[in-house]
């Protein structure tokens, strides 16, 4: 890799870690077609391609955010390798895998470890997603307002119509306890 490309790639990864739209767009635009070709040429639809590519982007996003990611290959190679691994797995699961896997791109790196780790995180993500969805309203929105949007208790009381911040706080506590219970009952099984 030339120095200038390397610098560019590093700054793209930094942008990705911040979820900076420009960087995401750059990476997306430069690599999507390659992955789509891989999936579509191998028994997949365009929607499959989108899913697989976005999942590969999530793996890269996690890597970039962890800060421990050393770029020893191009972003392109990494994304392609991850997408390839994910798609092969999916084909195997649905018994659609044929022997003549059409793979024109030869630069690949081993990413099995990263994919396995990603699957674990993805499972947790689903757990949290289900847990929050089963909470129901207004618990769901209340917790989201406090933990994700960082609204103050005072603001929450006003928006949700509690008479004061103390009451909103009590409700938040009850919702949180329910959420933790649902989440951990799943989490501890794994």
């Amino acid at each position: 890799m030339k120095d200038s490309t390397l610098e560019q790639e590093i700054s793209l990864l930094k942008g990705l870690a911040r979820n900076d739209k420009k960087s995401v767009e750059m990476i997306y635009g430069q690599n999507y077609n390659l992955v789509q070709a891989l999936v579509v040429n191998n028994n997949g639809t365009i929607d499959d391609a989108k899913d697989i590519f976005q999942e590969a982007m999530m793996v890269l996003y996690d890597k970039a955010r962890s800060g421990s990611f050393e770029l020893n290959c191009q972003i392109r190679t990494y994304l392609y390798s991850v997408a390839r691994r994910l798609w092969l797995k999916k084909l195997n699961q649905s018994n659609r895998h044929t022997a003549d896997f059409d793979d024109t791109n030869e630069t690949q790196i081993a990413v099995d470890g990263d994919v396995v780790e990603h699957e674990k995180k993805d499972a947790e993500f689903e757990m949290m997603h289900t847990a929050i969805s089963t909470l129901g309203e207004p618990c769901k929105s209340l917790l989201e307002a406090f933990y994700f949007k960082n609204n103050s208790m005072q603001e929450i009381a006003e928006v949700f119509g509690y008479t004061n911040a103390e009451n909103a706080k009590t409700q938040k506590y009850k919702c949180l306890m329910r959420l933790k219970k649902i989440f951990f009952s799943q989490y501890k099984k794994t």
Partner: protein, 377 residues
């Protein structure tokens, strides 16, 4: 019911502890409780794990949303091959009228920018009402001591014709030396609309100064003392750090809220961000008064971590400081300007403090001659 209240208070404390919202005393107290009670300890561990999972979930969700957005944007622009979700005829028409669409999109872009501009120009007013800048009005400046000083100065020079007419300064703030050749930093709002600027040291000596850099966005201004009577100072005893200071770290400030008398203030860093999560500044708990604007905020090692610029109106002791990295940025910015005084290019902010390990009174003694009162009219 009582039990629930207890549990709630405990969980609330655990949460504030994890999120770093406790003040130092409370934190110490809680840490002792944690050590003594293994159940509390377990609760902290478990809740930290849970908050991490929630946080990750939030990040992922946001990222997924932006991925979908990007996918749709790029396929609409034809930058990736993927068809739009509902392709067919619409897509065909879209491609046919791509040029028109691009123009329309750019117009939409301009309107969006304009709307942003309008929103931008309106919104800052609301939060600023809650903030009070700490510039001070000077009612009478013609203080006896000063007059005497001036007289002595002129006598020394033996040149009575050179007396500059007395300028009635109307506002004041604080500034501090960043370079011994006579460069100071202060707040932009202190020198805003100023026609004349003068700075005065602890000994009461006044020097004329000029504004060499001003940035309303970061509220930073750099002044240069422009006075033949000013003697170059040795390098600053304090240093400048880009690093973020830890929460609860003790800090102190020196400034001129009173008339011509340096005032020391002590406190701690209470939040790494400023008013409404502003990342340019940080929040400190320290007594701040009018005239304190532009005061340096130092940590116990004698490193400047910020410039005091405002306090919250409805809360006593809550003040805000612009983070030091903005001074570094201001210098880089200033150097790029064409008509800038070339000596500014040689300024190098000290990164080694000679104050660490000293007791506060000693530190202040070393620093005081570097802190100036900034007077403007």
């Amino acid at each position: 019911m009582n039990d629930q209240n207890n549990n709630m208070t405990l969980l609330d404390a655990v949460e504030r502890y994890i999120m770093g919202d406790m003040n130092p005393d409370e934190r110490l107290h809680f840490e002792n409780l944690r050590k003594a009670d293994s159940e509390v300890d377990q609760m902290v561990v478990e809740h930290t794990l849970f908050l991490q999972k929630m946080n990750r979930f939030n990040q992922w969700q946001k990222f997924q949303l932006s991925l979908n957005e990007v996918h749709n944007d790029l396929s609409a622009l034809g930058k990736i091959d993927a068809t739009l979700p509902k392709g067919g005829k619409v897509l065909y028409l879209f491609n046919k009228y791509k040029k028109t669409a691009a123009i329309a999109a750019s117009i939409a872009g301009i309107t969006a920018l304009m709307v942003n501009g309008i929103v931008g120009s309106v919104t800052p007013k609301a939060p600023k009402d809650q903030l009070e800048i700490l510039r001070k009005n000077i009612s009478t400046l013609a203080k006896k001591s000063q007059l005497q000083d001036k007289e002595i100065n002129t006598l020394k020079q033996g040149n009575t014709a050179a007396i500059t007419p007395e300028i009635p300064y109307t506002n004041s703030g604080t500034g501090f030396i960043i370079d011994g050749k006579g460069y100071l930093v202060t707040n932009y709002h202190v020198i805003k609309e100023a026609q004349n600027v003068a700075v005065q040291n602890t000994a009461g000596k006044e020097f004329l100064a000029k504004v060499v850099y001003a940035n309303p966005a970061t509220d930073i201004a750099i002044l240069k003392i422009n006075d033949p009577n000013f003697k170059t100072l040795p390098g600053t005893p304090y240093s400048f750090t880009k690093k973020a200071t830890d929460l609860a770290e003790p800090i102190f400030t020196l400034g001129y809220p009173k008339d011509e008398e340096l005032v020391y203030g002590q406190g701690y860093l209470s939040s790494k961000t400023g008013y409404n999560g502003d990342t340019l500044s940080c929040q400190i708990d320290v007594k701040a008064e009018r005239g304190n604007s532009g005061s340096p905020v130092l940590n116990s090692n004698g490193e400047v971590i910020g410039i005091l610029n405002a306090k919250q109106k409805d809360a006593e002791g809550v003040a805000f400081a612009i983070q030091t990295r903005n001074i570094f940025n201001a210098l880089t910015d200033a150097r790029k300007k064409d008509n800038i005084d070339s000596t500014i290019k040689n300024i190098k902010l000290s990164t080694k403090s000679s104050l660490s390990g000293m007791k506060s009174p000693q530190q202040v003694k070393k620093i005081e001659e570097y802190i100036y009162m900034v007077k403007v009219n």
